[in-house]
Symmetry: D4
Subunit: 255 residues, 8 copies
């Protein structure tokens, strides 16, 4: 159910051709296609301007397939995140149009064209090769949200000149996403270099005292660079989504 259909319904209410009770009933039933284990929320596309996202982790393959099919049935684009390889295989077999990106641990389905979200670019900065899966998830999510982005990879702070070399690109970005594990210092350095929005994603890369990303998370939250905001550990999806919020508000304002 897309926005147009909602507006049509409300117009019928205004025109008197749909009694209020009936409109209420129609509204109430439509958005919830009850699958027994998950209410697929067709309203969210209206509320947030993006398709339903399925968190693969913790769901069985059969559950993922059922939800994805229900979404596809209504013509929506689908993004599955944190999906294990076997479940991805199960999904692709059930829905051959689905595309699996193993590095990103995502599956995507494009039922409708994805319009570009504004004209700004996002700079996607990551500290090391081991951070790639998170960066890939982030990039794949941005692709599904229509966000153009450029990658700046392997610019850890231990070799600060590599990063300084890329400063112009960072300054021109609409948003900078910084993905870093270990001590996560990259976010502070980038935050000090540019004055655009900086979204920091701590990763679980590292060992010992990194405590699965805790070190990077605490470091980014207490960054000495002002106005950096932080996502959950390894949450490349969330960072892309947050960038989407910024660009969407900007696009709406530009109208």
């Amino acid at each position: 159910m897309d926005e147009q259909r909602l507006k049509d319904l409300l117009a019928r209410v205004q025109a008197g051709t749909a009694p209020i009770d009936q409109a209420v009933a129609e509204l109430r039933q439509l958005p919830f296609a009850d699958l027994g284990f998950a209410m697929v929320d067709h309203h969210r596309a209206i509320r947030q301007g993006v398709p339903e996202v399925i968190l693969g982790q913790g769901k069985t393959g059969a559950q993922i397939v059922a939800i994805a099919k229900e979404l596809a049935r209504t013509g929506q684009n689908v993004l599955v995140t944190r999906i294990e390889p076997e479940k991805a295989t199960e999904l692709v077999e059930a829905m051959p149009d689905v595309r699996h990106n193993a590095a990103a641990r995502t599956c995507t389905l494009e039922k409708a064209p994805i319009p570009r979200l504004g004209d700004a670019k996002v700079a996607l900065v990551s500290a090391g090769t081991s951070d790639l899966p998170v960066a890939e998830e982030c990039a794949e999510t941005m692709r599904m949200l229509g966000i153009e982005h450029e990658r700046v990879f392997d610019v850890g702070v231990a070799g600060i000149h590599r990063l300084l070399h890329r400063r112009p690109l960072l300054e021109d970005a609409g948003v900078v996403i910084v993905i870093a594990g270990m001590e996560g210092a990259l976010a502070s350095v980038v935050g000090g270099l540019v004055d655009v929005p900086v979204i920091a994603v701590p990763t679980s890369v590292g060992y010992g005292a990194s405590f699965n990303g805790l070190a990077a998370t605490l470091g980014m939250l207490t960054s000495c660079a002002s106005g950096i905001t932080v996502c959950n550990i390894d949450n490349g999806f969330g960072a892309a989504f947050a960038a989407g919020r910024i660009l969407r508000a900007r696009k709406k304002a530009a109208k």
Copy 2:
């Protein structure tokens, strides 16, 4: 030293009236007014478009006065955060133009008019009365950054209807800042209601298992609402600054 002065210097270099060595020397010395204990960074105004901010915590009153005076000498606006009452008194006595906001724990000095940062408003949402000091710090920082904002206070999730009542205001905002302690659930609910950027600030409000804001921080980082980003505990300043990054990039893009 403002941006114009930098451009003038570079123009002289281009025109040949300033040899490169001399220009380098001028640049290198200008930004660092060495006070013995702190390099006041006049460059930052150029790099980030905002005046120097002084973190009051951990500095002596004498140090704060010295830094503030050095900044004022060059005509910059000053914001001191997390300043204890006695140090604020000491500062106001030394610099009578300084304004102390006790609730916000800030001192401010406006040497220059503050231009409005874009035309979007920020919605400043807080869960309870006990969160007010953090909200005030946030509001005071926004005032110094030229960000217009509207307050939506005391809308904790335990009385969800209060929040729903204010939804239109939230949806029209350019950025929503959510300040909440205890379990911090307000950020998730707001994040699900609107599709604009949401910046969450956990507070140390609560006791026992809130562990000085840890509960709210973990809760906001793991929010089930997508694309929420998080600041440090009690960091109202940081949230305002992050909103400033978003609005500034938007303003720059709008030109």
Copy 3:
């Protein structure tokens, strides 16, 4: 040994047909059927009104089988929780009447009919599909305790309207059990909506800063909604049992 047998014994004492020493001896030996590694407590059915529950985790398949057989021998109903698939298979092979619920990770055996525990219903609310195993364990335990319940699944706070839609059902419940992972905010919202008893179960669903359920646990303990009580992480069994305590006391009082 059920309550009747206990009363019969005491009546014989009163009537003088059983000397005190003999009664003491009978009492002392009866409840402890010593299996070498576990004292199966037939008294508990008397003390708590429910059959013995076997925590499958940490026991070998052989141990589970032995305990279950001992219980069945005395005519009691059996509930095994947190049982791995292989051990469940081992148990079902040894005791073909046992029913394995893989989603709930439980095995059950009904030797006696299960009387309904009072006339109130429990509303079993869960935030997402990934919380289903915990919800299933909870439902299966309620079934064994004779508690009628209704499921309200997939109503996470990021889509608050889904939950509001189900408010009447929640208000009519005798107890509401809320099962949620990530930040666990659902408990706060439900707690604010209804004034019936709310039992919150944090789950280990989530990743990164959820720290295996710690985020949800701290969030639920520090909930801004008053009078919510909390169970251990993933402890669907415990929530059902706590609901049973409430309903049993209510039933006893209604007599």
Copy 4:
């Protein structure tokens, strides 16, 4: 605004003497008496059957006075928890009818008679003398909620016979609240002795590895006694409120 006034308003709607728009407006404005820093929620009394509770911690004396006065103005009973002595003095001076209980850290105001909440008693069990402030807060909250209760103090598990001595009282209670610090083992022992609802409150009593109540909290959450539920550390108020939820539902069902 009490329930009767709400029903009257709805009756007028039904009778046609109040147009829907006007009724909506009346409803919307009534519950929110905007004090600038806190929306006093007169609706809560309708929704949850209890008066507004003011968490004293983190509020200034002036804020507490203002909220309490607004509540008193509408004839409601008031309970202030976790209030420091000076603020209590400030409140009592401003509102001489207010009663300060220093041991409980509460202030109360009875504008209306408090009806007894059902006919069951709550057993309030605490482990040691140092737990008294939390027990007092719990008792004072129960008094304001109309809950009859009996105290069983100083029955720590290190002297188990003291507790066993009181078992009949515990078994007859409608709810047992167990308040204990250090390792919090009392909750497990009580939970094993009785089959009524058991609400456990960990306290910050102890030192060293008690980590301000963390030890007791983890202990109670992982109790080997089934169906115990847990409140926040030192949250005597919350336990009383949870007992109130149980007794209210029971009373409602008994009608």
Copy 5:
């Protein structure tokens, strides 16, 4: 090298038949049979009265075999703890006299008869069937140390009468070892019942908020029963060893 051999050497020194330099050299080389990766310490038997113990965890099978052979070569008894099944198999194949106890995760070799360590018994109390591996490790260590012990299993505090039933045995013991997971409350209850030495061993049994034994550890350290001492999580070996220290000192004193 046993104590006799040491005394013989020193006697030769006293008698003048061994020059000091030579004696020093003999002493220095004897105790260290350098295997390249581990100095097997034959002195320890002298210093502590017990044979060398090999912590299996973290060592390769080949390393365990080499150390065990070196020890056996000098006629010492050997105890290997925390050994995985495959490595145990490897050891038994290399040294057929070695006895593997799978439940205890130990391997033992008796080259010399084990004298009984004093005439007191140790009571080995455990809370649940899942604690058995730790209890077995403890029992196996006691066997190797010559400590007589009696088992009191499955006496969790949720069924306190089972424990009270066994009180005479506990009071007669020279030492009571209490092994419990989850909240570990058993240690407090036992500590309150008896006045003999109580050694508490927290186990990793439990899930969720037990955090792999942290809950039980904190609980035992902060026990309200006075004079309980605590071992590392799952350290059945350590508890037996500590009991051995007590009994050995007692035996020595009795001479």
Copy 6:
């Protein structure tokens, strides 16, 4: 009520001069002198052989005085631990025979002579001067328990020769208590030097990563020296009490 009085009562039962009902009643009432806020347990002296100990922390001065007076009334010796100076003054003023030891934070009252507990000595070893308050509490407790002890102070592992110098004394002790903060390594070194019982007390001495004694606690629990047992942080009382358990059992056995 001492052991003799108990035996007398039972003799009267046996002799038939005291009916069972009356004996039960006498037993039940005697041990509990209900003060309103604390059940003073006269039974404990029978059960554990030591007088009642009052944990001063968390009690008001008035409560401490009341409990101490009740104990003194029955002729028992009293030990108050962790008592603040002002409360100690209050106690001494109310009961002039009470002796305050400021360094140990204890108050003691000797109503009856303290018999020596066995003939073994305890070696009380501490790492640094800052650990003295804990060591003093331990020493004062041992004095009240009749335990003879010798102090070995300021022998931190950073100067290992100081400790080696005192080895003979340690080897001759019946129990060694090791009190150390920071990393707590002293316990491991002592545990490796001697084969008598070693009780380790972590202290909160240190700063930064000592996290108020957590570092020492974890270090002592995971000590590479076998059979060391650990008390709560700063719990000098507990260590003395544990030593008392060892010596009492030994004395009882020696009879």
Copy 7:
């Protein structure tokens, strides 16, 4: 590109044969051989005097091979750390000159001779056999850095005489590296024995309260021996690298 090539380039600039723009371009392109997923930094050899190190953990086998080949192509020595066996096999198959050290979890490639780094020796001290993998990684790194070292293995503090026996060797070392798990006390003892630089490496050896090396880390950070510095858990590589920094600065100074 080695230091000589850099100096040649700058000489050409000075001589005027290389215009500044061209020099800048040459410099900027040379160090970054962009592989798509990792910027191999040939500059580092110039900046830090050591070859590129590849952290194997978190990289795919293909990524490791690609980076290693790129490095080898420019004639540099390569060290891969924390590489799993299968990836090591993949690397060795792709580059047969690579040498795999399974115990150390490293792969190395010597394209150029390794000059000895100064004339001091490093003493590599480890507490137990289980620490060997970390010690091996450390030793292998030292070999690649040209650092001569001597091993002192299996000298845990529970048998302090073993360590004292090796004191002369420690005192003669240029640097002492101490590798220890469990409570990590060895670092304190060594730090007290010698006055040369001591680098402590906590390991994850241990179980229970060692919390994967946290106990040892906190213990080493709070060591009572002055001037000990600490590396990440299990970071044998880092300790070797830190020793390299010390020896390199010393060698440079000696020139």
Copy 8:
């Protein structure tokens, strides 16, 4: 007692003028001047080449005075760290030659001239003004150890150009000490810029998620720059001492 006195004693032994027994006795008594609560260790000056350091924290003023006097009596230099102002006043009053540095929280006494420790300089780098107390403690310790140093203050990573500006100074240093709070990223950036030894000191500067220095500690331990070593939180003394170890070994080697 200095090294010369030791050598003189041994020479007398060699010459036969001091019997071995007498020499042993002299040695054993000399180093330990037993003050009752602290063994002042005159041997340490011999073992570690530095005077005794008194940790002021946790000692009474009287204890500090007594230890300092005993040290002064033997002609040693004294450094007291972490001393509160009142205790410092007490010390200065008792020993007027003592110099109190309030910013550094140290007291020092120079009884003997302090020889320069080698010819290298230490660069003392700190991130912000709030880190000054730790930096001062470090500087004061270096002064007492004879270490020449240069300060590079207020060069946080959020303004990376300030740091790059000082790179030559860092590269010429014999050791770089980096003192930083919040996220502690400065250590990583410095570690990537230079190849000399880098000692990182996390500080407790910051709030919220800095958790009193935990964030910086974890960040520095997991730094992506290789070979950085870390001291305890706020331990400026320890960093200076560690630098002293490096410079002393270097000086010894240069002879």
